[in-house]
């Protein structure tokens, strides 16, 4: 977690900009409206004064409703770990980091081979995320390609619940959300306990432009009713599913996430709604949705600032790249986007170290490298402590012109507290570096990852909970697939 109360956040809008974006957003929602594919949500919107056309499934939402929903939103969200020490709070300028969920393949950096990712890879990713200090919440990083495909999301969650004590967030793939909640309830000790210790959050998306899909809205409402944290953010691409102009794409993104909040808050007042967007660009040469372009980073800054303006807990993205391999481009894009995310002040930063190949390939080594970068970023954002002692006038006077500070007690006292020490980045003298095998960052990250995975044992679930989770998973699989899959 990074909290930098002293240093100003990286903000890009003036008050006037925010005012204009907000009023433009209200105009879009009132004039154009949103399409809502789920009838119960449409009826809900009609009942609170929206102008609803049931046959076209369009709801035009008046300004006062949008603003009332903002006022009713949870200002602070408690996102629980399995153990209390791992609890996090989403509020103010606290920035928490975690991986994403979505990669369908894994890059084995040592061999250079990319292959479909398996549940075993997910287990490893979760263990690694559990071990890394800078990681505050856990998403499964990969999507398992070796389990029955329609129930893949349950296996991703299964791997996460068993291998970390940190708060868990999973992607809504459109499966009935109660299947996910049931599994988390087993770990929490029942549905009521889960409300007290909300250790599961869900990430879902509307369909840009301005459409709320059926199963995703249903799941939004299910999570709101269960009083669990829910991220509901659009992922539009400039020039295809959003206007070409940055401001236009921001207005649309804002309208999409805020109309989701209307549905959430009028489903259950005080719903734990997390605001944001993952807005980017459709690359004009290849069509890909970029996870490394500067436009995407600006959108991340923009949405964090807007969300803070509304007083809503915010969601953002960082630590990803468009590069196919873990090269210079990958570390630059991942590092820069992490810095931007941290400096934006958004409360939950996801996809950390999870996405190469614009979201399709994951790499454990990238996660390990992001941990190093995050610890460096956290250090930078801590800023400078200014006190009599740290101003060090007496020591400067004592050493005087021409002396040195190496042996001063003041130096010995402060060197550990005051400075950042690399764990992975290299600062050896050249000769020693050669002697120790001339290992580059990739090699070292691979070794560190291996070390962590062989040394770290996440706290296991109690045996009875483990068994119960097994049973719940098997039962849900059978219900969804219509038969019990072979194991």
């Amino acid at each position: 977690m990074i909290e930098n109360p002293k240093i100003g956040l990286f903000e890009i809008f003036t008050r006037d900009d925010i005012y204009r974006i907000h009023t433009a957003t209200l105009e879009v929602l009132e004039r154009t409206g949103v399409r809502v594919e789920e009838e119960s949500a449409l009826k809900l919107l009609a009942s609170i004064g929206s102008d609803v056309d049931l046959s076209r499934r369009i709801a035009k939402i008046p300004q006062n409703v949008v603003e009332e929903a903002i006022r009713n939103s949870a200002r602070t969200i408690h996102f629980a770990g399995r153990s209390r020490e791992d609890d996090i709070r989403l509020e103010g300028k606290r920035v928490n980091f975690g991986p994403g969920e979505g990669a369908t393949s894994i890059l084995d950096c040592q061999s250079g081979i990319i292959r479909p990712s398996t549940k075993d890879d997910t287990v490893k990713a979760v263990k690694l995320a559990d071990a890394l200090d800078t990681i505050d919440f856990v998403m499964p990083l990969f999507t398992a390609q070796d389990v029955p495909k329609p129930v893949m999301p349950l296996h991703d969650l299964d791997a996460a619940l068993r291998n970390t004590e940190k708060p868990v967030m999973v992607v809504d793939f459109g499966l009935e959300a109660n299947y996910l909640i049931d599994m988390a309830a087993v770990v929490a000790g029942g549905r009521e306990r889960l409300k007290e210790r909300p250790l599961l959050g869900m990430y879902s998306e509307p369909v840009s432009p301005l459409t709320h899909g059926k199963s995703h809205v249903r799941n939004l409402m299910t999570f709101a009713n269960a009083d669990l944290p829910i991220v509901y953010i659009p992922s539009p691409a400039c020039c295809s599913t959003a206007p070409a102009t940055l401001a236009g794409a921001i207005v649309q993104s804002n309208a999409e996430t805020l109309s989701g909040n209307v549905i959430a808050q009028f489903t259950r007042k005080g719903a734990k709604f997390i605001y944001g967007s993952d807005t980017s660009l459709m690359d004009q040469r290849t069509g890909v949705f970029s996870y490394g372009c500067p436009e995407w980073m600006i959108f991340n800054l923009a949405m964090a600032q807007l969300g803070r303006h509304y007083g809503l807990p915010t969601w953002s993205t960082g630590g990803c790249s468009d590069s196919k391999i873990l090269d210079g481009q990958a570390t630059f894009e991942a590092g820069l986007s992490l810095f931007i995310a941290a400096a934006s002040g958004a409360n939950l930063i996801h996809d950390v170290g999870s996405y190469l190949n614009f979201g399709l390939t994951g790499s454990l080594e990238l996660l390990t490298i992001c941990d190093e970068m995050l610890s460096m970023i956290a250090y930078i954002l801590r800023g400078v402590e200014v006190t009599d002692e740290t101003l060090a006038v007496d020591i400067i006077d004592k050493v005087g012109p021409g002396g040195h500070f190496i042996t001063q007690k003041h130096t010995l006292e402060f060197l550990k507290k005051e400075h950042w020490l690399p764990g992975l980045f290299d600062r050896q003298m050249r000769n020693n570096w050669v002697k120790s095998g001339s290992r580059d960052l990739l090699k070292r990250a691979g070794e560190k990852t291996e070390q962590i995975l062989s040394a770290h044992q996440p706290v296991p679930l109690p045996a009875d909970v483990n068994k119960e989770l097994d049973k719940t998973l098997r039962r849900s699989e059978k219900e969804i697939l219509g038969h019990q899959p072979k194991t």
Partner: protein
Amino acid sequence: MREALHAFDQERLVEATERALEQGYSPQDLLEGLTEGLREVGDRFEKGELFLAELVAAGEAAKKVIAEYLKPMLEGGGEGEPLGHIVIGTVAGDIHDIGKGIVGMMLFTAGFEVKDLGVDVPAEMFVQAVREEKPDVIAMSALLTTTLPMQRETIEALEKSGLRNTVKVIVGGSPVTSEWADEIGADGYAEDAVGAVKLVKEILGIRE
């Protein structure tokens, strides 16, 4: 018309078409010219000279002119058949639209007739389209691991209705691999839109 096409300007293309028709050009000639122009647009995109938005704008403009002006005039007597008929869609449960749209547009600019069933297309709708449209190729896109099985189900539905042998099936989308395509009995897999055009030409035996 060529100029209007390369300026990606629908209004100008419509005007140019109307003018050309007034001047006595036959719809047949215009269609051939337009097809040739589209192929150039596709080639330029492939070479990186054109942007995607430009490719799509040119394609949409040409589609409109063909559907609203040239096709109606050619009904019955027209020659210059398209290279083949393609029905494309994103499978049930999946609403990812962009990649499928680009693949459809590239196939269209390459000279195929493309019918787009949209997104979240159930197996029965593909089957019905095969029955009614008699396409040469069914192209199924899926972007989610959880919706990949719908590609298999659609192929099975085609088999059940006895239509599988009447049509080629290709699959694509980011989680799709050639192993998956083999496993479910598809006729081919392409990684991207340019690859999809090559693939379709190959399985239909169309030489470049």
